[in-house]
């Protein structure tokens, strides 16, 4: 199969996975968690490398995902127990773990294998060439399987636990009053956010993670009338961004991941402009009882 088709498929999967988890995080106002996880896992990668002494992808992936989860958990703990502002606790945790990672690397600087650049950032353009093999049969790029797995897990989570997640993202207090375990489902979300972030930046690079969590979800939010619509809209928006981004990257002969992000940004701008236009044109015959929240 052609490399470009693989890139397209992998980018679509990465976009969908991040759009799904991103929608939930956007609604919970903790989408910067994606940024935090993708930085703090540097520490996990270095730790996994130093402990196992190898670059075995499975070890690295596990180490990264665990530290990602750890940082999400620590953030939550600081916020709840320490009563630190939520965004401040995110920032304190991820910069600390990142600094520890950099220091660990510096302490082992002679091991040329491991440095923030080549560990942290996957490169979408190279994914088709990094294939998995069973025996001698080529079964496709590793990134494809990785992201397919994560996307499947996310869809499974949404199919099985749509209702608790719906209640939780709407209002944690309401969910708790219904007897839905807020702690449990927040943990599930953190686990999935961590897995998605690690799987996608390992495959397609870190900038895509934050961008694809935030941009398509917010684009969908401009018009969505329900969580379901928002999830579907976000996946569609991410797909459009991927297509537009590939065209842009081809046009400029530039980084594909960056071009996808820019395309996703343009899409959001388009959606916001369209909404402003619609609102202006219908402002005349519309009652405007909008809640005033200071």
């Amino acid at each position: 199969m052609s490399e470009i088709l693989w890139i397209l498929v992998i980018a679509l999967l990465a976009g969908a996975a991040n759009a799904l988890i991103g929608s939930l995080l956007v609604l919970q106002r903790r989408v910067m968690l994606g940024d935090a996880i993708s930085h703090s896992v540097l520490f996990g990668l270095v730790l996994a490398y130093l402990l196992s002494g190898s670059r075995d992808p499975l070890m690295m992936f596990g180490g990264a995902a665990l530290i990602g989860l750890f940082s999400a958990w620590l953030t939550d703990l600081l916020h709840r127990l320490g009563r630190v502002q939520h965004d401040a606790s995110i920032g304190v945790v991820f910069t600390f773990l990142f600094a520890l990672g950099v220091i660990l690397i510096a302490g082992h600087a002679d091991q040329v294998d491991i440095d923030p650049d080549c560990v942290l950032h996957g490169e979408l353009a190279l994914t088709p060439f990094d294939t998995l093999h069973i025996g001698d049969t080529d079964i496709g790029p590793r990134a494809f399987w990785q992201l397919l797995g994560v996307t499947a897990l996310l869809l499974l989570m949404l199919a099985v636990a749509y209702r608790p997640l719906h209640a939780l993202t709407f209002s944690a207090v309401h969910a708790a009053s219904l007897g839905i375990s807020v702690a449990l489902w927040n943990t599930v979300l953190a686990v999935m956010a961590s897995l998605t972030a690690v799987a996608s930046f390992d495959a397609v690079g870190a900038i895509l993670v934050v961008a694809m969590m935030a941009l398509p979800a917010n684009t969908a939010l401009v018009f969505a009338r329900s969580l379901q619509q928002m999830l579907i809209g976000a996946v569609l928006a991410s797909a459009l961004a991927v297509l537009g981004g590939l065209a842009l990257a081809a046009w400029l002969d530039a980084s594909i991941a960056a071009a996808i992000v820019v395309a996703a940004g343009l899409l959001l701008a388009l959606a916001l402009a369209l909404k402003a236009f619609l609102r202006r044109s219908s402002a005349a015959h519309r009652e405007t009882p909008r809640s005033q929240s200071a």
Binding site: L81, G82, R83, V92, F96, A211, N218, G265
Partner: protein, 440 residues
């Protein structure tokens, strides 16, 4: 050179590089600690992270337009991009009504992606000299020289002066934006000024600390200061001090061992300060808070048991020994829990006898009497619906010793005309006095 020699050598500060880096990182720590506090109080703790990432397209654009790596040009490009990013965040949150964290994530990734896009495009162009363009965003504190020091010093001094001059206005806007608007303060202009100050602090720090660590220099001292104080002036002072301390620590560590980066160690130092404050801060610290919670819980538990025993004694005499079952008959409590409470009371000398068969000691009787007296006076008071300042009850409640102190009890007693029984017909005990304590 041994570690000790190295330590002494560091503090002689006769090595010019050491002097520059130490001073420079201290200045950077101070200015970012100062300005970061404002960002944290504006509930935009991650703004520094975003602006640091957003500098990349400014760097690449400045290089593309002017074909130079001249630091001043590049810095100006980064600053322009930072201001643009701030404006976009403002637009997205205020006009498009996006959620704050979403707007931050969007601007961060979008600007960074624009930078990468231009980098990949540039690396294909026949331009010499582009080496190190992407390195601009990686910190390299040890390369700090006297030229940087002048810039850092100017900016830090400027930020501190501006803050001092505008302190009252800034404080007003931070704590009550609506009020400031109502007073006719040009809030937007001040917010823009704060953003410009933040961009300044970010841009001068980027080459020294790098993107991620710059975010920490802005945020962590401020978050630590927030734990230690509720007032703006002490917060600013604490954040700056911590920034300076961390800067010196980072420089020191990087002098002691080879290949030790200054910036990350500075961040580790800041994080350790934060952890210490989180655990130990007098008001907000976890440990003091847990201790206060525990002592509060214990006091209520103990007082309840004392009152129960007092009631039991009332039914018979102060000499009767009571079993744990008797107490549990009146106060349903787990056996193990009751046992623990009783043992504490024993240790405090409130009980006589064994943990199985007990009675109130003289001291215990005194405290139980005081409690019961307050309790019953209170009830009587409510029953008679006479006015007593609830603030006094409130202060009493907060007092560490007892819910109602003796002065309050006396007041109630006076106002009620020395009632002898409470609404339930139980006697209200006299004020306990060592001399008047019931003798056995």
């Amino acid at each position: 050179m041994s570690a000790w020699d190295a330590l002494f050598a560091f503090w002689r500060l006769d090595d010019p590089n050491v002097l520059w880096v130490t001073l420079g990182m201290a200045l950077l720590g101070a200015s970012s600690g100062l300005i970061g506090t404002f960002a944290v109080l504006e509930k935009r703790a991650l703004l520094g992270d975003v602006l640091a990432h957003a500098a990349l397209p400014g760097v690449t654009m400045a290089f593309f337009l002017f074909h130079t790596r001249e630091p001043l040009v590049i810095l100006l490009g980064a600053a322009a991009a930072g201001l643009l990013a701030w404006g976009l965040i403002d637009l997205l949150t205020r006009r498009a009504r996006l959620r704050q964290d979403s707007a931050l994530a969007i601007v961060l990734s979008l600007f960074f992606a624009l930078g990468i896009l231009q980098l990949t495009w540039l690396q294909r162009q026949p331009l010499a000299n582009q080496a190190g363009l992407d390195k601009f965003l990686f910190g390299q504190a040890a390369s700090l020289t006297d030229a940087d020091l002048y810039l850092l010093g100017t900016v830090a001094l400027g930020l501190i002066l501006l803050t001092a001059l505008l302190f009252d206005r800034l404080r007003l806007i931070l704590f009550d934006r609506q009020h400031a608007l109502a007073l006719g303060v040009p809030v937007r202009r001040y917010e823009l000024l704060l953003a410009a100050m933040l961009v300044c602090a970010v841009v001068i720090g980027l080459q020294l600390a790098g993107v991620v660590l710059m975010a920490a220099l802005l945020l962590t001292p401020a978050a630590t200061a927030r734990l230690l104080s509720d007032r703006l002036r002490p917060m600013l002072f604490i954040a700056m001090t911590l920034g300076v301390l961390a800067g010196v620590t980072g420089a020191n560590v990087s002098y002691l061992a080879p290949r030790m980066p200054t910036g990350p160690w500075m961040v580790v130092a800041l994080s350790l300060f934060f952890i210490a404050a989180l655990l130990l801060a007098p008001q907000r610290g976890l440990l003091p808070r847990a201790l206060r919670q525990r002592s509060l819980r214990r006091r209520v538990e103990e007082e309840n048991i004392l009152r129960t025993l007092f009631k039991l004694h009332e039914e018979t005499s102060v000499d009767t020994l009571w079993s744990q079952d008797d107490i549990r008959h009146h106060r349903p409590l787990g056996a193990a829990r009751l046992n623990r409470i009783l043992q504490r009371l024993h240790r405090e000398g409130m009980l006589d006898g064994t943990p199985e068969r007990m009675r109130l000691s003289a001291a215990g009787l005194k405290r139980a009497t005081t409690l019961t007296r307050g309790h019953r006076l209170w009830e009587t008071y409510l029953e008679n619906r006479l006015g007593l300042s609830p603030e006094r009850a409130h202060f009493a409640a907060e007092a560490a010793e007892h819910v109602l102190d003796e002065a309050t009890c006396a007041t109630i007693e006076r106002e009620l005309g020395r009632p002898s029984t409470d609404p339930h017909g139980r006697p209200i005990p006299e004020r306990p006095d060592a001399a008047e304590a019931p003798s056995r």
